[in-house]
Amino acid sequence: MNSYIDVLFWMRQKKWLLIALFYGMAMHHIVTPPPDLNQAAFDALVIISMALILIITEPLPLPAIAMFMLFMQVVLGIDTANNVASSFMNDAVFFIMGSLMLAVAIVSQGLDKRLALAIIRVTGHKTWRIIAGFTAISALLSSFIGEHTVAAMMMPVGLTLVRYAHKDPRKVAGLTAALLFSIAYGATIGSIGTPSGGGRNVIMMNYWAEFGAGSVSYLEWMKYVYPMVLVQIPITVLILLWTFKPEQSNLDSAVRKLVIEVARAGKVKGREWLAIILFVLVFLGWVFLSESFGLGIIALLGVFLYLAFGLVEWSELNRKTNWGVILLFGSAISIGIQMNETGAAQWIAQVIIHNLGQVIDNPAVLQGSVSVLLTGIMSNILSSSATVAVVGPIVLDLGGDQILIGFMTAIASAFGYFTAVAAPACTIIYSSGLVKSKDFLRAGWKMGVLSVVSLLGLSLLWWPLL
């Protein structure tokens, strides 16, 4: 009797795995590929759609899904084992690995207390100025060190202010939401600003190289995209104040207590200076050397320096780095490359153009709309980086300027304002238990509309001037 229950329970827990396997087997064995799609391309699409089901529903750990994507390419005869292995590792994966480790190294230095003091000195005690300061600092920092790093450092500062503002955060729910969302949305809008702002930006750069679209340097990326970050900062502040209406207009007492708490950390220590200097060196390397060495290699060099100077222990890096995500992006990029090489990406792009072309005449508008909408919607369900890994090959085959379409896709992948799953910063504030899913919807739709308008303005008014 118990074994029956165990089997039923396993089926309950793994129902999406069973659905994905059933779907995959049915597609491979029963469905005939369309005449203009070869079997390998069809199989690549089957693998990626199965992987999407598994990633969204999580019946398996991420590394298992990564392995599934790799071995299925060989099992279904899409490519040889050696070719799959070589497509698995590239500079984008190095970058994701390096940036996750750098995040651990930076967060472990305790620089968040210095950051808190610096923000308060600039903003003063007024609530709207503190929210503006949180948004701006989160955006500016996340452009360079990644949104998960910024959110991890800013969260204690935000929660400490909330705690000092009122002992029961539910009594100041508006203030709490405004402060936490200023961290999450600030970090998210900033993450598009430079290639190092997020793994998805580097994945797009990798696809540009793979698709022969050319290359974009670190500074060129900033030239194209950074104006949007600067425009979005004040818009985000207004949206948060308008949506959440903080209960207190002045945080005098909370700020004073926060200053006393962070002042205990004393003066900046030599070790902290060294951590900052090393990151500045990594940043300079990204700006000036990435075209020769690659962003990923420089990130790994940075990790090496942190280890060599004893600023972080390998055991800590090993424990806190999400190896599953690294494996998953390696395999997602690998299948993305197969989508291009087998013609699967081109086929989907043609189907989209054929069907939507009858509704939208202008090819540039069609390409832009598809890339932004497809990426924006998927990033709210999946995650921003995974969306770029999956959608990237398709949108680059829509036609038009691949660099501009790629920028639009990378930018739109940061429009995951509606759910807690899209961006790491959103997941982090959600994990505090102080903001609810409906808060993401309340502020998210406004952020979504204004981000699309900002992107439209950027592409129509700024990019033609470059």
Binding site: F9, Q13, T427
Partner: protein, 306 residues
Amino acid sequence: MTKKQEKINPQTLKFLTAVSSAEYSKPTLKLGSLIASVFDASLGVVYVGERASEFHGSSVNMTRQNLDNWNIIHPGLEVLEWALKELKALNPDDESLAKIKFNADHVYEEDGRVRVFLPGEDACRIELILREGELVNQLRKEIQLENYDLAIIGGSQDKRHLAHSLIQYLPSSIFVLQKFNPRKKYKLLLLVDDSKATKKSVQWGALIAEKLGWPVRTLTVSKTKRFGAGYQGAADMAKAYFEDKGIEVEQFFLTGDPVRTFVEFAGDNHFVIMGASTLNPVKQFLFGSKPIKTLERSNVPILIVR
């Protein structure tokens, strides 16, 4: 003979109560504490929180460790801290419980869960556990790990889906506190039929009635006007068991659809005890069972004895 077979030994009973927040879990914790104390059972308090998507799980963990440096504790630990405080208030005479101090730094991870280390916990037999993930899966793992006898769970909005999963998959007896009002005077309603679990439900019912002094009713429902020997025998056995303990029993024999009759009879002032279904698990999964349907349709606290 293990403790899960035949006779209940109160000295070795282990109860688990699931809490979600100070706002909603007060009645659940109160009844959990009361039942555990009348049975002299040890009590595990578990908070099951949402698990972050695996994509961002390590970022969330990194943030939590950073929050620890600022003495900001995990929201689930806050609920467990409240639970301990509440248990102390509910048991003011328990000296060993009064001595226990909650320290959010004294937690350790084992077997996929976080356990709060409570100095002296052996004396007062309290455990505080934090888990993350899907509720039924986490409760099942906790019950299997610690071999709990009874899981005490608050009523849920998502009643239909949850009732089915809890009864089908939790390997212990289950007590669901639907619309439980700690101030209300309940009557104990024992549903008696010829199933194997009836005998154990009678034992649980007798212990509860003995300790809480609640009046007892037994209800036997037959689909036809004729009550078979099995039904009659079970009702007689229940009556004799209660009377042997000096507890008065009112017996009711009704005809009709069992689940509808249970639900109508229970109304809103009974505390229902019934045995778990002995149907094949696959049949239960496909067609449901009397306990599943009763839990889905009724609005009173129900103890399903396994």
